[in-house]
């Protein structure tokens, strides 16, 4: 019924300030979007409701943005009405906290020189070393080795045709060639389907029992994402599902992992594989992320929840996916038998069950993925 006064003497300044708050809250606010926002406010009027809608339409780009926008809007425009700011929830633990000590200060410090030389000869040994039992220096070396991996992304024939030696006739190029010979068709140009990267989905268990491996596995995921950013999706499983693809697209592995660590709320907590898997299949898998994709699950199969649920979800996932691979760090260890509830439920639906406890086994995994 009443339109509240403009939040600031100069309305534009108030509105632009609001967009800065949104940018800080992680919304994809660009100059172009701000311009669009102001144009929209201009077209609708500067009432509270109108400003809200204008911002909703021009400044958001993802359903995940909507609650953040809502909070920022209330915080900015109703700030004077609220007694005080809501206290921020405690920050989630950082990824680096899972390392035995600091993220690298100690490693890159005084003892790095001799260590590199000593471990260079030990590379071959390290490749087969269990990722969960590495010393700090070995970890540092392993990171360097992981960063050197050059995975070959799996491919599939595309629907799009491009010039090729054999295949169906290409009328466009044939006609072009005919022009130079006065309309005589001398050569028949051809086109064929070219290979395109196949989608890859990595689902990484970050629950307590997988903690020793999670850091290395996320680094591995970073390498895979950087190789084919558009075709790779990474999620973490724990008590819930978290998408970390965006975070892992950052170029620098340390930044990417720190960002991923901030994004994961259930770091080294309990495991509810079945529910997290159901969330993935529902929200992402069935809609297309897992369709004809190579899906790799990294987990030891310890399940606190209902293993039947995990079984049905994996059965559904197998129907969607091109290849369903389960990587269990314990498989490669002597005396391993697949008795954990989760693994027993999963086994009938898998294409491959692989080891993933060392760099060498991860390299094997890349080969299986490339050939998939």
């Amino acid at each position: 019924m009443t339109t509240p006064d403009n939040p600031a003497p100069d309305p534009v300044r108030g509105l632009v300030g609001f967009t800065a708050v949104l940018r800080h809250a992680g919304l994809p606010v660009t100059t172009e979007r701000v311009t669009a926002f102001l144009t929209a406010v201009d077209a609708l009027g500067a009432g509270r409701e109108q400003v809200y809608r204008a911002g909703l339409l021009t400044l958001c780009g993802d359903p995940d943005d909507l609650p953040r926008y809502e909070r920022a809007f209330v915080g900015w425009f109703d700030a004077d009405r609220r007694p005080a700011r809501q206290p921020q929830p405690p920050r989630t633990p950082r990824l680096s906290a899972t390392l035995p000590s600091g993220t690298g200060d100690g490693i890159d410090g005084d003892d790095s020189g001799p260590q590199v030389r000593a471990s260079a000869s030990g590379t071959e040994v390290l490749r087969h070393h269990d990722l969960g039992e590495l010393t700090i220096t070995e970890r540092a070396h392993l990171r360097a080795l992981l960063a050197l991996l050059r995975p070959i992304p799996p491919s599939r024939p595309s629907r799009r045709r491009s010039p090729a030696r054999r295949g169906a006739a290409d009328p466009r190029r044939t006609l072009r060639a005919a022009l130079h010979t006065d309309g005589e068709l001398c050569t028949l140009a051809r086109r064929d389907r070219s290979p395109r990267p196949r989608k890859v989905v990595l689902l990484i268990d970050v629950s307590g029992s997988m903690e020793p491996y999670a850091d290395a596995l996320l680094r591995f995921a970073h390498v895979v994402v950087r190789r084919a950013p558009a075709a790779t999706e990474v999620f973490t499983l724990g008590t819930r599902l978290t998408r970390v693809t965006r975070e892992l697209r950052l170029r620098d592995p340390e930044h990417a992992l720190a960002a991923a660590g901030r994004a994961i709320p259930d770091w080294s907590g309990g495991t509810r594989l079945g529910e997290a898997m159901a969330a993935f299949v529902d929200r992402w898998g069935r809609r297309g992320a897992a369709r004809r994709a190579v899906v790799v699950v990294f987990s030891d199969g310890w399940e606190r929840g209902d293993t039947a649920l995990l079984g049905t979800q994996l059965a559904g996932l197998r129907r969607l996916a091109h290849r369903l691979i389960w990587v269990n760090p314990h498989v490669g260890k002597p005396g391993y038998t697949p008795v954990q509830g989760g693994i027993v439920a999963a086994l009938p639906h898998l294409h491959d069950l692989l080891a993933g406890h060392s760099l060498a086994t991860l390299e094997d995994l890349l080969e299986v993925m490339a050939r998939a």
């Binding site: 994809p28 660009t30 172009e32 979007r33 669009a36 144009t39 929209a40 077209a43 609708l44 109108q50 809608r53 204008a54 909703l56 339409l57 021009t58 958001c60 780009g61 993802d62 359903p63 909507l66 595309s158 629907r159 799009r160 009328p171 466009r172 044939t174 006609l175 005919a178 022009l179 130079h180 006065d182 309309g183 068709l185 395109r196 558009a230 529902d282 069935r286 809609r287 297309g288 992320a289 369709r291 559904g316």
Partner: protein
Amino acid sequence: MLEVVDDRTGSPTALAAALRATGYLADDDLATAAFLALAMHRPLFCEGEPGTGKTALAQALATVLDAELIRLQCYEGIDASQALYDWDFPRQLLHLRALEATGGAGRTDDVEASLYDRRFLLARPILRALQSPRAVLLVDEIDRADDEFEAFLLEVLTEHAVSIPELGEVRAAVPPVVVLTSNRTREVHDALKRRCLYLWLDHPDVAREIEILHARIPGLPARLSAEVATAAHRLREADLLKPPGVAESLDWARALQLVGARHLDVDSAAATLGAVLKYREDADRVRTRLETLLAS
């Protein structure tokens, strides 16, 4: 005529009323979004669950604006020759042969110019929308196309023009109204979203769904529409593989009407369940709990 259109699209409320007259019930958010898309000449990027009226919005807008609806259904591997334009190669070849036979073939440049003439150009949806005096271009399920295609759409959406190497630039005299839809099977690149207004469509609440059923299906008994809307609402909360959208509840109501059901009971619901649930697992689960689903 233009004034009439301006009257109907001059404010969000006017546009909502105009949309309502075509049988599309828009809430305030949606009406504002559509109004801004028209006022700012920006594409409208609609995302949401399947069956929440993304495609229907474009159809309704076309009716309101008295414009031609041009639909581009995206799929994997779609490229310029299917979306933009293509040359009519068989006719071009015939033309070339005819030139030769009549001795009309002169300098290569002339031949080439006559060969790449507008009459040999096959306009595909996007070019047609640019050439049309008044058009609503619906780019449906953009998430199914590959990312190269998005990059190529960018040029069209911002410039309202396409460049055809052989002919030059084709620029729209009247920029078409563009509606893009996505089911979120893939994240669409931010560069494309940035140029659009972003609209997230959710399932309507029960009251609105009853209204929609009424507006869309003439002669539907009031009791039946209320029951269908309530049941559809409950199904959406029942943790199914594929919760029904509005499109499904419309189908369901039509199916019930066709089998002559006066109201929704266990028998008629069981008989027509295939109109609303599309997975065997879902149907099995719901069939055992029909009583509770239909309890008022």
